[in-house]
Amino acid sequence: PSVGIKASNGVVLATEKKQKSILYDENSIHKIEMITKNVGMVYSGMGPDYRVLLRNARKLAQSYYLQYQENIPTAQIVHKIANVMQEYTQSGGVRPFGVSLLIAGWDEDEERPYLYQCDPSGAYFAWKATAMGKNFVNGKTFLEKRYSDNLELEDAVHTAILTLKESFEGQMTEDNIEIGICNKDGFRRLSPPEVKDYLASVQ
């Protein structure tokens, strides 16, 4: 399950990263990744498919920068990623990507946050808050009640964790969830100690 919430001054992405065995080295692989300094994304679905899209997205974003010497606006990169996903639904010998993406970005020019969702069909939607993956219906219902337009980023992180908790089996620790935030200072994945602090205010 993944969750994204847009606040007045930023966006938060949160996801559960349950591993199959305690022998897994949790901090080596990440679900929440940066595309450019101002845009990040998380997925629900097949990890390998996500990696391909991530690589593609980073390259597309850099091409834009090469041409315009300006960071790609969030809506533009989402559109490009969605186009790639659509191609794989209409080409021969390929299958659609087995992931849904949540893309969070901050636009320098307009000085505002954006949250988008991309589906395997290539359709994309802009959200104020949304949930994806396991129990996403319950997640969305929870968010509908909890969301307000004048939420600040700090509160949004708190709400995101609570939303994840709804469908979480077992104890939530800083090693089995990932949180990423995007504000005017850019996109950043929170470190485990930072996640632990937020968890402390929830437990």
């Binding site: 090469l66 041409q67 315009y68 010497q69 300006e70 533009q76 559109h79 020019d109």
Partner: protein
């Protein structure tokens, strides 16, 4: 015979207080023979964004058309007007794509930021090397003459009327010292809420 001097041209752009100006000559000639006295070398790319293209006339027109193509798609995709600084990068990219077989134009850009209305001027060479300045930029067959004139008449924070006088005098007197430039002039003064276009009366020789 240098290709950049085949048709002849002169463009100047100057920065003022909350305004920019861009001016060009109007001659279209083939070496010594003047063919037209109303050839367009400055093109409007946005409500407050202008580009001047001196150099080989065929490339002046082609670069303008291809740039317009890219700009139209940009504005449709991004649903916004392009910033002068971004436009500079777009032009630079277009020219460098032809690094080993370049367009023979050395563009001059003048405009105001669509949101902040901050003045912006810049020029670049035929393979896209950008140069952003705070005072003036020149390009064309009489660039040395134009540099001399601009250095003399330019001062910071000129208002639109003073800017008009300065850029006009700089252009007129520079092209009079160049055989392949001149035959009339045109000036655009770009301010936050209006653009004033004036045709200059100069020596028709």
């Amino acid at each position: 015979m240098s290709i950049l001097e085949y048709n002849g041209a002169a463009i100047i752009a100057m920065k003022g207080r909350d305004c920019v100006a861009i001016a060009s000559d109007r001659r279209f000639g083939i070496q010594a023979q003047t063919v037209s006295t109303n050839f367009q070398k400055i093109f409007e790319m946005g409500p407050r964004l202008y580009i001047g293209l001196p150099g080989l006339a065929t490339d002046v027109q082609t670069v303008h058309q291809r740039l317009q193509f890219r700009l139209n798609l940009y504005e449709l995709r991004e649903n916004r007007r392009i910033k002068p600084k971004t436009f500079l990068s777009m032009v630079s990219n277009l020219l460098y794509e032809r690094r080993f077989g370049p367009y023979f134009v050395e563009p001059v850009i003048a405009g105001l930021d669509p949101k902040t209305f901050e003045p912006f001027i810049a020029s670049m060479d035929l393979i896209g090397c950008p140069m952003v300045t705070d005072d003036f930029v020149v390009s064309g067959t009489c660039s040395e003459q134009m540099y001399g004139m601009c250095e003399s008449v330019w001062e910071p924070n000129m208002d639109p009327q003073e800017l008009f006088e300065s850029i006009s005098q700089a252009l007129l007197n520079a092209v009079d010292r160049d055989a392949v430039s001149g035959w009339g002039g045109i000036v655009h003064i770009i301010e936050k809420d209006q653009v004033t276009t004036t045709e200059l009366k100069g020596r028709m020789d």
